[in-house]
């Protein structure tokens, strides 16, 4: 069956089977940031946004995406690169395999939560596994990034 959806603000068309999952379709369309990790909805590697909500593309039937809006890391490249610099500065990127899914969920959290504390951050990111860092460097990076974001939004509000 043919599906049409918005991928990173561009209209795309794909031919999919009834049991094709979104992950494979996105990679075929050139979004190589979307990776296959556990395939059991536990690792968060395949995180993308569907209609603005972070979801696991390994478990979404591509057929159900017809008419919806999908965003991958390629669609928020500048913002992702900005956070990526914080991640690198804290040694939180390491092998980098989990980074795309992790960054997508951090950016989703930034949009959803207003000034989250450490516990809220940990809870929001519980579905993103990393086997290199032990998470502490990632958490430092997020806190520094969020602090800067809050400072910037405060300055914008004052202008």
């Amino acid at each position: 069956m043919e599906i049409q959806f918005t991928l990173n603000k561009k209209q795309v068309t794909a031919e999919v089977g009834a049991d094709t999952v979104l992950l494979g379709v996105l990679r075929d369309l050139g979004c190589k940031s979307v990776k296959c990790g556990c395939e059991t909805t536990n690792c968060g590697l395949c995180t993308v946004w569907i209609d603005g909500k972070s979801r696991l593309s390994c478990s979404v039937l591509a057929a159900g995406i017809d008419g919806h809006e999908v965003t991958t890391l390629e669609g928020v490249e500048e913002e992702a690169a900005e956070f990526g610099r914080f991640l690198a500065a804290e040694g939180g990127e390491q092998c980098g395999f989990c980074s795309p899914g992790f960054i997508m969920n951090v950016l989703a959290m930034k949009r959803e939560l207003d000034d989250p504390d450490l516990e809220e951050i940990k809870e929001y990111l519980a579905g993103n596994l990393c086997r290199c860092t032990g998470y502490m460097s990632q958490l430092r990076a997020i806190q520094k990034y969020m602090t800067l974001q809050n400072e910037n939004s405060g300055k914008e509000a004052q202008v």
Binding site: D19, T47, S54, S59, L61, A126
Partner: protein, 267 residues
């Protein structure tokens, strides 16, 4: 691995019900659990176009569409007003936000899974399920029915002045619970009634009802006795996460904590 022949997004409930009568058809919720199974499904039926993704506060009841996600339930103010933090507590340990943005309450309740936090929580509340063909029945009746070809439309929680607590124990964060318990109390037909629901025993959640008039200044020993009695009336099993004896001990502890918390708040 699951294989699917046809994907259909029906335009009406009637169409969905008719499609689902075929033996090899299945209704999909969030596809989180179904996708992990081994099955050849001829037709998968996606209910996402039928408006079943809303939570409606209808005054005396809260009606939760079967396609509402666990994240919607976690963030629902009406459920928070009715149950405090209990409903959010029952879903917040389930994998991550991405998972809860996808998994549906309909999938959790219809599946009647042994590990289900959601079923354990809603079973202790004054909850009904609305079925396309079977009408509206109590969740406590539905939970013991064999799966059939009906379609779950909504979960309906009747509002009342009941106190609700939920707690679970896991070996690691985001894992299935080793045990899950919820306790609800309130006046029913003029009598103080306690409801205990224990899930992940590792069998599906079961409900126990007791008319106990417990004084507000009940001692710790007295509450512990009530908790011991409640926990002893469930059956438990063993698996890789824990033995039956260990589960019963945990259930007793969680029930005691929940009862203590309710009594401390005042009924």
């Amino acid at each position: 691995m699951i294989t699917i022949g046809n994907y259909v997004k029906p335009k009406s409930l009637e169409e969905a019900y008719e499609l689902n009568q075929a033996r090899s058809s299945r209704v999909m919720g969030g596809m989180m659990w179904m996708r992990l199974g081994n099955a050849r499904v001829k037709t998968v039926i996606d209910l996402s176009g039928l408006g079943l993704d809303q939570i409606e506060d209808e005054g005396n009841v809260i009606k939760i569409g079967a396609m509402c996600t666990l994240r919607q339930i976690e963030q629902c103010e009406a459920l928070k007003d009715l149950c405090g933090d209990g409903i959010a507590e029952c879903v917040r340990h389930i994998v991550g936000v991405q998972f809860r943005n996808q998994a549906t309450i309909g999938g959790s309740i219809y599946g009647r899974f042994g590990f289900s936090d959601v079923l354990t929580a809603f079973l202790a509340l004054d909850t009904f399920v609305e079925l396309y063909d079977g009408g509206t029945i109590r969740l406590s009746e539905f939970v013991n029915r064999k799966p059939d070809k009906d379609i779950l439309l909504s979960i309906i929680v009747r509002k009342s002045k009941r106190k609700f607590r939920y707690d679970s124990i896991r070996q690691t964060k985001t894992d299935f619970p080793v045990i899950a318990c919820s306790v609800v109390t309130g006046m029913v037909h003029g009598k103080e009634t306690w409801y205990f629901s224990v899930g992940a025993r590792p069998m599906k959640a079961a409900l126990l009802e007791k008319q106990w008039e417990i004084p507000a200044d009940a001692s710790e020993e007295m509450i512990a006795d009530y908790a011991r009695q409640a926990a002893s009336e469930f059956t438990y099993g063993s698996n890789m996460r824990g033995s039956a004896e260990y589960r019963q001990h945990l259930a007793e502890v969680l029930i005691r904590r929940e009862m203590t918390s309710i009594l401390a708040e005042g009924r």
